[in-house]
């Protein structure tokens, strides 16, 4: 199981002084904080992002923050998102309402950063990192830095941090190959790569489709 390492927190509160202070105090302790000031902007943010936890001021001006909670809970992709609500009213009515809506923590205002971090860590401790095994793994082009060290009319030798285990079609691009008009030629690795040094490997790469002009360009390289 892969445990999540850095948590994204959405803080919904219109008290700028409070949110700036909390942001400073809890960011960097394994948390990344994003702040929204009202319900509508919080909803816009949540339409694009899925934070690990939401800290919601239940008394946002004249907005009714309670309505956001069922909106969140109805969407299956938020099922692992923790919801904390903050309020200066810790009446029994509020506590019962919070529990009924599936809120994870009810925090008394004024918020204390240390207490908040502790609550976040407690609730998020065993959160698995979201992951997805792609059912039909798509092909992806990978390119990396290498060095081509020698060349003849049918192949070249490249030193790279990749060990080819079987014949593979590859592409090599460089200013040098461009100069000798070989940038477009098809290439294939010949044998298994052999260790060079420090995690790099020597691979012989054959040219497929050598023209007379290309061969002449290679022969112009005098240095042996």
């Amino acid at each position: 199981m892969n445990i999540a390492k850095i948590f994204d927190i959405l803080l919904v509160d219109d008290d700028e002084d409070l949110t700036n202070l909390l942001n400073k105090q809890i960011s960097g302790s394994g948390f990344r904080v994003h702040i929204e000031k009202d319900l509508n902007s919080a909803k816009s943010y949540l339409n694009q992002h899925i934070p690990h936890a939401i800290i919601l001021d239940i008394n946002l001006g004249t907005d009714l923050s309670w309505s956001l909670i069922p909106w969140i809970r109805e969407q299956s992709h938020f099922q692992t998102t923790k919801i904390f609500i903050s309020s200066s009213d810790m009446s029994r009515g509020n506590i019962l309402k919070a529990k009924a809506l599936g809120v994870d923590e009810l925090l008394a205002k004024p918020l204390n950063a240390a207490a908040l971090v502790q609550k976040l860590k407690k609730n998020l401790r065993a959160t698995e990192a979201a992951s997805y095994n792609i059912p039909h793994p798509p092909s992806i082009e990978c390119s990396l830095y290498a060095k081509h060290v020698k060349i003849n009319e049918i192949s070249l030798v490249v030193v790279a941090p990749v060990k080819f285990s079987e014949k593979t079609d590859i592409k090599i691009q460089s200013d040098f190959l461009n100069e000798i008009r070989l940038n477009e030629i098809k290439m294939r690795t010949v044998d298994q790569s052999k260790p060079a040094s420090d995690g790099t490997y020597n691979t012989e790469v054959t040219f497929r489709g050598m023209t007379e002009l290309m061969a002449q360009n290679i022969r112009k390289i005098k240095k042996k």
Binding site: A130, A146, V162, S174, M210
Partner: protein, 231 residues
């Protein structure tokens, strides 16, 4: 030891004589055909170790390509096919490789080049590559090497790639794919290979590449995509 069997087809008599002379030192069992009928009859009765096919047979346009396709259909992909074409005809060569040829050379053929290519494809013992290597000046050695892998898993902290080839830990790789556009809303991304492992049953290497922690938007985008996938 059995001699390697090589079938060739070219309607140019002079070229066929040149081929016989040039390839004599390799001690091959060389069967030279001048017509498509001869060649196909030979292919029906036996299987060569290598074929050399002229792309510009007089009989019909594209006869050479059709022969390549027929060999691949009936005999599979194990027989190396070298095509011979006119001078500097890169389009012909590209098409030949696309339809199944392994390699191509242009006329007039250079004997050492031809011999080296045949030895390479037949994996003949001894020094396969007889041609002298020329050193490339150090200031011109830098290049970029590209190949394909598969994207197996994505997590909110990184991606896992699979390949028959090992990429060393700590290597910076640049990845490009339409799948990346869909998942991360990026055409390409540069990542470091953080961990590698090997699956002995599948004979595949897995490379885990972590997202740049200084770019939280990537993790957020990945998480967003993952949690919206069907369970």
């Amino acid at each position: 030891m059995k001699k390697p069997i090589v079938f060739t087809i070219d309607d140019d008599v002079d070229f066929n004589n040149f081929l016989k002379l040039t390839l004599k030192p390799l001690d091959l069992d060389l069967k030279i055909c001048t017509t498509v009928d001869q060649f196909t009859a030979l292919m029906r009765s036996s299987t060569p170790d290598l074929c050399i096919i002229d792309l510009n047979l007089d009989i019909a346009m594209g006869a050479g390509y059709k022969l390549i396709q027929a060999i691949r259909l009936t005999k599979g992909h194990d027989i190396p096919i070298i095509v011979i074409s006119r001078r500097n005809s890169t389009k012909d060569i590209s098409l030949a490789l696309e339809v199944g040829a392994n390699d191509a050379l242009t006329k007039p053929l250079d004997p050492p080049l031809l011999i080296s290519k045949i030895k390479q494809h037949l994996q003949l013992e001894g020094k396969k590559n007889e041609l002298t290597f020329y050193s490339i000046s150090e200031v011109k050695q830098e290049c970029h090497l590209s190949f394909h892998l598969h994207l197996n898993q994505i997590s909110e902290y990184g991606i896992t790639l699979s390949s028959p080839h090992l990429i060393s830990k700590g290597t910076l790789i640049n990845l490009k794919s339409s799948a990346l556009k869909e998942i991360l809303n990026m055409d390409e991304i540069s990542l470091m290979v953080d961990e590698t492992s090997f699956n002995t049953d599948l004979k595949l290497f897995y490379a885990f590449c972590e997202f740049d922690a200084t770019k939280p938007e990537i993790s957020l985008q990945a998480r967003q995509w993952i949690l919206r996938q069907p369970v």
